[in-house]
């Protein structure tokens, strides 16, 4: 079966700085892929390439068989209507209210009446626990609330493909679980295909059909959660442990306090 999202030999550099090199990822219909990776390894750049906000240096991204960077703008917008994207910084329209933000795509791309749109907006806001915030301006929201409004905006049009850029960063553990459940529900009910970037391992293992790990611009693992846990690659294991010592960081981290003290004593004794 042809994958819904097909990332083929994708490379992207900004000037001399290579961010992604030769990344290959396939996401099948109805599958939920979680992308893990250190901060600044190019996860957001990957999503921006999929959305067509960036053009790959080499390779391509195909969504439903159409190569994104070769599409005409009209075709690109057609494809984008099927994709919901949740930005890392929410990227809400700050001149609009919460309600207008969430209903934006509905107003522009559907023939729904005002009442129907209001109903759908309420439904989406209810899902993310933001009932009765409709009339607030986006400047009146907290960081976590903004993120959830961004999430609601991404799912409002009931897209078949969802891209989440750290939807749970900055949320409390309970809300994180709620978002995880919404993603699972969307998958079960609508058969949504999704890519989720997260730093939260607990929800990653809950929502993932497969987990990919990006390390120094390359995708070093892409497998089911169980296989991922057992993957012997030292970087994977270090990432799972959440330990500063190991091959993950380019520069050696500062020593831990206990170790440092022991080291210090040794020096004095000598």
């Amino acid at each position: 079966m042809e994958p819904v999202i097909d990332v083929v030999n994708l490379s992207k550099a900004f000037g001399p700085k290579v961010v992604l090199s030769n990344v290959n990822l396939q996401v099948q219909e109805g599958e939920s892929l979680v992308v893990l990776g250190g901060s600044g390894t190019g996860k957001t750049v990957l999503l921006r390439n999929i959305m067509g906000l960036l053009t790959p240096d080499q390779g391509h991204v195909a969504v439903e068989g159409r190569i994104i960077h070769q599409l005409k703008r009209e075709e690109l917008f057609e494809t984008r209507q099927k994709i919901g994207m949740c930005f890392q910084m929410a990227a809400l329209f700050d001149s609009m209210s919460v309600e207008e933000n969430v209903g934006f795509a509905l107003t522009r791309h559907t023939t729904m009446t005002r009442a129907q749109i209001a109903e759908r907006v309420d439904e989406c806001l209810g899902l993310v626990g933001l009932k009765d915030t409709n009339k607030l301006r986006t400047s009146e929201l907290s960081g976590g609330m903004k993120r959830r409004v961004g999430f609601a905006r991404a799912i409002a049009l009931k897209p078949k493909i969802l891209l989440f850029d750290e939807p749970t960063t900055g949320l409390d553990p309970v809300m994180t679980d709620v978002i995880g459940r919404i993603i699972l529900d969307l998958k079960a009910e609508l058969g949504v295909t999704s890519i989720t970037i997260t730093h939260d391992l607990k929800s990653a293992f809950e929502i993932a059909d497969r987990i990919a790990l990006i390390f120094r611009g390359e995708c070093i693992a892409c497998e089911s959660p169980d296989d991922f846990r057992k993957n012997p690659h030292p970087v994977v294991q270090q990432f799972l442990r959440g330990d500063a010592d190991g091959p993950f960081l380019q520069d050696p981290p500062p020593p831990k306090r206990a170790l440092a003290r022991a080291h210090h004593k040794q020096h004095i004794n000598i």
């Binding site: 921006r48 959305m51 067509g52 906000l53 703008r73 917008f77 057609e78 984008r80 209507q81 994709i83 994207m85 930005f87 910084m89 990227a91 809400l92 329209f93 700050d94 934006f104 795509a105 522009r108 791309h109 905006r153």
Partner: protein
């Protein structure tokens, strides 16, 4: 040393050409997007208000001040050779042909062109324009088009307002202070003018409105690099559009006033 200088000049020229090309492409896309669906009436109305209605006080005040001071100069100048009667005619000529269109154009470049650049620039660096793209909305169609239409309609209207206020500004000085007859002033104001001059004034207003909107949107859309980028966008939009207003004023006058 010399090659270095030549290289620098070459790089500057290439940069300027690339910018001009970019502006031309975006302008072309804006004009083509005008008739695309969906039509966003609410946004257009908002721009009519922001560009047109909210600019009325500024335009009234500047037109009044400029026409009054020009009348003072004319009265003084023509008194030297006892030709005070000429003052009203020259006042009308100057206001309709040059002062109103150019002053309104420059004021609007400062008032609304810079606001457009700041607004779009902020949207660009906070990823709101990317969010528009992801919601399958062409930022050119959604942001540029209403501003272009509102600019193209409102700046000519404000130019007409400037002419009207200019008439009264001149009257205030020549009739009120210099003691000329009100009837003679009203007759004299239009004496040297024909319908063509008003047409040219409107064409200037239309051109300047288009320049202001396109340059403002373009500078904002191309803003990058955080607060500094957003800060530079309005400044460069005002400088660029003012320059083009003056250049186009010359060419429109030279070509149409034959």
């Amino acid at each position: 040393m010399l090659t270095k200088t030549l290289e620098n000049i070459g790089a500057k020229v290439m940069g300027a050409l690339a910018q001009a090309g970019d502006f031309a492409v975006l302008s072309g896309r804006t004009f083509r997007a005008i008739f695309k669906k969906p039509f966003d009436g609410a946004s257009l109305l908002h721009q009519f208000n922001a560009i047109g209605v909210n600019s009325i006080p500024v335009i009234v005040l500047t037109s009044l001040a400029v026409s009054a001071v020009f009348a003072v100069q004319l009265a003084f100048g023509f008194r030297q050779f006892q030709a005070e009667g000429m003052a009203s005619g020259v006042e009308g000529l100057a206001i309709v042909r040059e002062l109103a269109p150019v002053i309104v154009g420059l004021m609007m470049a400062g008032r609304v062109g810079s606001a457009m650049a700041a607004e779009l620039g902020t949207m660009q660096v906070t990823e709101q324009i990317d969010a528009l793209e992801c919601l399958a909305t062409d930022p050119i169609h959604y942001l540029f088009v209403p501003r272009l239409i509102a600019g193209a309609i409102m700046v000519p209207l404000l130019t007409a307002l400037g002419i009207y206020v200019g008439f009264w500004g001149g009257r205030m000085i020549l009739v009120g202070v210099e003691g000329q007859s009100a009837f003679v002033y009203s007759e004299g104001f239009y004496q040297l003018l024909s319908a063509r001059d008003f047409r040219i004034a409107m064409i200037k207003g239309l051109t300047f409105g288009i320049i202001i909107a396109l340059v403002g949107c373009w500078r904002g859309y191309r803003a990058q690099g955080g607060a500094e980028g957003v800060g530079n966008a309005p400044t460069s939009s005002v400088v660029t559009s003012s320059l083009w207003i003056l250049v186009m004023d010359f060419f429109i006058t030279k070509l149409l006033l034959v």
